[in-house]
């Protein structure tokens, strides 16, 4: 299968990107300055991320669509206000996660942002669950560009007026070069920021304007270190079809009422797990010293029994040390529990810790 390229591919090349294949797309892992500089620039200034490989699924419908989607997602969609977004997941009957996503109420339906590697499968599942009842468009004509970091609001507002007034997890349509673009105040780095859905024809021009105003292109490498420091899950690492939202410690993303009333896919398992408990849960792990524990590193207790496994681990440039997330047996999930990580045949001490590793600085809106 031929590798797919986003509308910004040429621009990535101009900025000397190193490319990797990611979910069938040729994507920049880093640019000239490298992951650490890119990471810090995002935390201190403003980073631009090409996330056009992600799925932008538009589902059109009225009240019956809201009702049907509530049978799928553990959300109170009836009370989700226009242009407001929620983090959620698509699950199977056993509450295993097919994908994690952001769903936004738009005037004529919903916009759902899906992971690149999952989007085709998600489309099939959703289409089936909704019995082909609604018009669904996995829009390949639009690019998705994220701008993240403390200077982002000011930079974006110079190009698209009034975006600075959006509050966190809300969005709106704006005009750019006589075209409609959808801007949400969101992101996945732990910083204040925006995601902009713009027509492919304008994506490069728009990105160049962001660069001219002082933002810099940032690769997937720094995106990973940023989200890990922020304690955010990545599908294929923390999340997969065998993990439930309870095990992934994402209960906060579900509506309390919906959990107790049920009636969505996976609700029985979720209620059962909340009642009877779970075996393992997602935690933050801070290795002592400088050693880095990568995905699949085995976690031991002090009596040499395996109690879990690392799902993501790297060097956190803002933490200035190693950071990791993983799953451990429930009784070892308390903060400050001492564990051991087996790396290249040797065991290294680490501590279970709270998340995030790096404090989020989202801008809270007045009308939340």
């Amino acid at each position: 299968m031929e590798i797919k390229k986003t509308s910004l591919n040429k621009l990535h090349q101009e900025y000397q990107a190193k490319f990797v294949e990611f979910a069938g797309y040729e994507m920049p892992i880093q640019y000239k300055e490298g992951i650490i500089e890119e990471h810090k620039f995002t935390r201190n200034q403003s980073g631009i991320f090409d996330v056009s490989h992600m799925g932008q699924l538009f589902i059109y419908g009225k009240e019956d669509l809201v009702e049907d989607l509530e049978k799928i997602f553990p959300l109170d969609l009836k009370n989700l206000k226009l242009n407001h977004s929620k983090y959620s997941f698509l699950m199977n009957d056993a509450a295993g996660i097919h994908d994690d996503l952001i769903i936004t109420k738009i005037e004529d339906g919903f916009l759902i942002i899906l992971n690149a590697a999952c989007k085709e499968n998600d489309f099939k599942i959703l289409n089936q669950l909704l019995n082909n009842k609604y018009k669904m468009v996995l829009d390949e004509k639009r690019s998705l560009i994220a701008i993240q970091g403390p200077k982002s609001a000011e930079i974006l507002n110079q190009i698209i007026n009034n975006t600075i007034n959006l509050s966190f997890m809300t969005g709106s349509w704006f005009k750019y070069e006589n075209q409609k673009i959808f801007v949400t105040r969101s992101g996945y780095t732990g910083e204040d920021g925006f995601e902009i859905s713009v027509h492919n024809d304008l994506a490069e021009q728009f990105t160049k304007e962001l660069i001219n105003k002082g933002a810099k292109l940032i690769g997937l490498g720094a995106r990973d270190t940023l989200r890990l420091e922020a304690g955010l899950c990545l599908y294929g690492h923390e999340l997969n079809i065998k993990k439930t939202p309870i095990e992934s410690n994402l209960k906060w993303a579900m509506s309390k009422e919906r959990i107790s009333n049920g009636g969505f896919i996976g609700s029985k398992t979720i209620l059962e797990q909340l009642t009877n408990g779970i075996k393992q849960i997602r935690v933050g792990i801070k290795p002592e010293g400088k050693i880095i524990a990568r995905q699949k590193t085995k976690i031991f207790n002090d009596s040499e029994s395996i109690i879990g496994e690392v799902t993501s681990g790297t060097f956190g440039p803002s933490v200035n040390g190693p950071v990791a997330m993983g799953y451990v047996d429930n009784q070892f999930s308390k903060k400050d529990t001492k564990v051991f990580l087996e790396i290249r045949g040797k065991k290294y001490p680490a501590n279970i810790c709270g998340l995030p590793f790096y404090k989020k600085s989202y801008v809270k809106g007045a009308n939340k």
């Binding site: 190193k18 490298g34 992951i35 490498g221 880095i292 990568r294 290249r344």
Partner: protein
Amino acid sequence: MSDVKFSKEHEWLKVEGDVATIGITKHATEMLGDIVFVELPDIGTSIEKDGTAGVVESTKAASDVYTPISGEVVENNQSIVDDPAKINSDPENEAWFFKLKIKDKSEIDSLMNKEEYDKFAKESVS
């Protein structure tokens, strides 16, 4: 610098008497990206040509470091353990990895000179 030799695993080696200083090349650091962790062989260990002699980790992944020749480790560079970023800034000089007491000088003959290595490195970029 005619006395510097290079391996296909992107290590450099500099011989002074019967001791060889070994590190990784600038080209290797460019491929790895920002180095954030390094593990060196202990002083006194004997290592065989092409055997594992440490680990470097970038933000992205871990990679083994190999020794281009056999010998006994007589020194290792703790300053790069404390500050792995040095490996990116000065890989072929200050950020050497370890020194070996050379076991068999003839092993050096099979290594590349600078010109040969530069050509090899250029061709090995995917």
